[in-house]
Symmetry: C2
Subunit: 273 residues, 2 copies
């Protein structure tokens, strides 16, 4: 991050999610969102043509741990009223990746020009919320302490397919002591909208990970002698499933550049009617 960018980030840190979204919409911030809107869910964004929306909905319903759906736009609308006042999915994400026929073709900070009534935006909860909760409870997260991107791996666990959406479960890994690992299960179970409890802990080869020091995404993180690697379902799963489906057009958030919502991280989805 540039010195200017860092200053800007520090100014934003004290603002509400709605106020940060306003800054992003006005083009005043285009950086990563980890640490912003503390205590509120952030969302992965997946925007697909309406012809694919029903199957993607099925994919999320069948794979709730990697795809914890927290909001969907109405036909012809760019708003997400359930996620915050006046959310506009065309302008409120700091950076977007544009994919055409499965290939990354562009990165932009506003998709107003690309938007059409034919698009449907899905928002899926992300891991930031449970990471906040782990840290608050005294469980250190090495990738954060070392300012790295969490390591992510393809597994030999298959998602349940829906239409053209399919592929392996992708997991993120956080090493911790065995006693912290048990606490981490209990803590993250409270955040079903942020991938919930781990899907696996222990020998990575058991879930098809050959070399833990070579993640498929993110950066390697050391695992100390007295630690166990703990694996959570990861939001890259639906991203990878959509990319391999080679939709004519697919728009996502750029990695780390999430949609900030007004939904409390602790909302289990059982709070609302």
């Amino acid at each position: 991050m540039t010195e200017d960018g860092l200053l800007r980030f520090r100014q934003l840190k004290s603002l509400s999610p709605a106020a940060v979204r306003q800054e992003i919409r006005q083009g005043n911030y285009q950086g990563q969102t980890a640490g912003l809107g503390f205590g509120h869910l952030q969302g992965n964004v997946a925007i697909v043509p309406s012809d694919y929306a029903l199957d993607f909905f099925r994919f999320c319903q069948r794979n709730p741990k990697p795809c914890p759906l927290i909001g969907v736009t109405d036909a012809g609308s760019a708003e997400l009223p359930g996620l915050g006042s006046k959310v506009d999915i065309r302008t409120d994400v700091p950076a977007y990746n544009i994919y055409r026929d499965g290939q990354l073709s562009d990165q932009v900070t506003d998709i107003t020009d690309l938007w059409s009534d034919d698009l449907v935006a899905f928002v899926l909860g992300c891991s930031f919320s449970f990471e906040e909760a782990l840290i608050s409870d005294g469980i250190a997260l090495r990738h954060i302490d070392e300012d790295k991107t969490v390591p992510m791996y393809k597994t030999n666990i298959n998602t349940t397919e829906a239409g053209s959406f399919a592929g392996p479960l992708v997991v993120s890994m956080r090493p911790m002591s065995h006693s912290d690992a048990i606490r981490a299960v209990k803590i993250t179970e409270r955040f079903p909208h942020a991938h919930g409890s781990p899907v696996f802990m222990g020998d990575p080869s058991k879930i098809g990970i050959g070399d833990i020091s070579s993640p498929d995404w993110g950066e390697p993180t050391a695992i100390e002698e007295d630690e166990v690697p703990v694996f959570w379902a990861c939001g890259v799963t639906p991203q990878a499933a959509i990319e391999q489906a080679k939709l004519p057009l697919f728009i996502s958030h750029a990695p780390g550049h999430m949609l900030l919502t007004d939904v409390k991280s602790s909302d289990t989805g059982q709070l609302k009617v």
Copy 2:
């Protein structure tokens, strides 16, 4: 229930959900399903033309307490692999209601003739699972003790609409002591796929119920002096929302005649990937 029917029901009670589905499919049982497939989720069924499926999906996502979605068929398929081996939604429900343009037009025990590739079946968890858990934990349920249908009421709480699907939240009411009511919150919270924790307890007028002795569906249940009425979101909510949307064709289970699934009642949706 006829004496023959009662005998049949007793025979079925010891069978697995899959075995009961087989009996239903072969036309050997067409009765109510409460008490069958103990320990497993039962489902409300809503079958809609594909043109309406995306909006109904949105309606369920936005209203998870009355509409806890547990399964959706693929385009052109009548199977629900996530809910059990070889579930066939055309034959495995004991009785179906057929609605045309919002009006009940027929009740049948098999919809094979009506089925087409254009239909999408949704299955929503029902309250039987949490009722089992309450009873197991020693909380008596008066409507069951008195062999009545639980009383249900329209409230002044609106669901979050999606396309043509909208309407009031419908709740079911179970009276209990104040201390049991608190225990019931904790117990039913563990069953998000069976409507989860209550939406309200106390003075019915606060949620727009004028006369608690005149339910909109089901039968009145007495509330004793030392009891509080406890209200849960009810699966009649989506049913009423679909009926008022006046779809050209809508097929549901007949009341009390649910789809038995192989999913354990205690599955929080967090167990699977």
